[in-house]
């Protein structure tokens, strides 16, 4: 849970694009289709196990293995979904918080005050990123080469505009401080 400062308001909470998530679970979807191959190879399985097992036992074993396989994939899917869902970029009227849920037991939180943001760069790479409107967001902050990178974020152009507009409205400009 992110503890907000007094008078701090959340302006935007954004996650990676669903298409990026779908790309991660695509291998799981393919793996979940594997048990469908059992009926195709049923004759081969009956020949292989027919010496020791009755046909009903072979069906029971294949059902058991298929269910075990699907249970394993089900668990892995929820781990991936949890990592996706808890991986967020939070923009408040005072700072930017990048929560990087690396895996279930590794969480990396980077915070940058809005005043320290010097440059916001977006990258939309490739035809799929262009079609589905997702990309990488680079936040250059003051102090050496500190950079926050959020990959596969949805609608990066809008997020960039929102960060810049919040920065302009909430952070006193240097011009007004030094007339």
């Amino acid at each position: 849970m992110i503890d907000l400062h007094p008078e701090e308001k959340i302006v935007l909470v954004v996650r990676r694009h669903w298409f990026v998530f779908l790309g991660e679970v695509f291998a799981l979807i393919l793996a979940a289709l594997l048990p469908l191959a059992f009926p195709i190879f049923s004759n081969y399985l009956y020949d292989l196990g027919g010496k020791y097992l009755a046909q009903s036992q072979i069906i029971a074993v294949t059902t058991f293995v298929s269910a075990a396989w699907l249970l394993l994939l089900w668990v892995i899917f929820f781990i991936i979904f949890t990592n996706y869902y808890l991986d967020t970029l939070i923009v408040t009227n005072q700072r930017i918080i990048d929560v990087d849920q690396v895996n279930l037991f590794a969480r990396d939180i980077a915070t940058a005050p809005l005043g320290s943001v010097q440059d916001v760069k977006i990258e939309i790479l490739g035809i799929l990123a262009t079609m589905f409107n997702y990309g990488n967001l680079h936040l250059q902050t003051a102090g050496g080469d500190k950079e926050i990178v959020i990959r596969g974020i949805q609608n990066p152009e809008y997020v960039k505009k929102l960060i810049m507009s919040t920065h302009q409205s909430e952070v006193p400009s240097h011009n007004s401080a030094h007339p």
């Binding site: 292989l48 196990g49 058991f64 298929s66 269910a67 075990a68 249970l71 929820f78 979904f81």
Partner: protein, 77 residues
């Protein structure tokens, strides 16, 4: 040469019968531990109570269906 002879297993049916409950118990434990870890994460990291409940129940119901299929297959073996 069939796989039974290759592994020097006298009767593969007995090995399968022995392995099924072990696999079942291991997967159920894995499933339950993950249920606890996931629910902890979802509540601790600021997800609302309703969303966390929907997530957990989806996870549990799906898991129970697959575990039920495994148990049924084991019983009919």
């Amino acid at each position: 040469m069939n796989p039974g002879e290759l592994l020097k297993i006298e009767n593969p049916a007995e090995v399968i019968s022995f392995a099924m409950p072990i696999i079942l118990v291991a997967l159920v434990l894995f499933f339950l531990v993950l249920a606890i870890v996931l629910s902890y994460h979802w509540r601790k990291y600021g997800v609302g109570r309703v969303r966390a409940a929907i997530f957990m129940w989806t996870y549990l119901i799906g898991g129970i269906i697959f575990i039920g299929a495994m148990v049924t297959a084991k019983l009919s073996y």
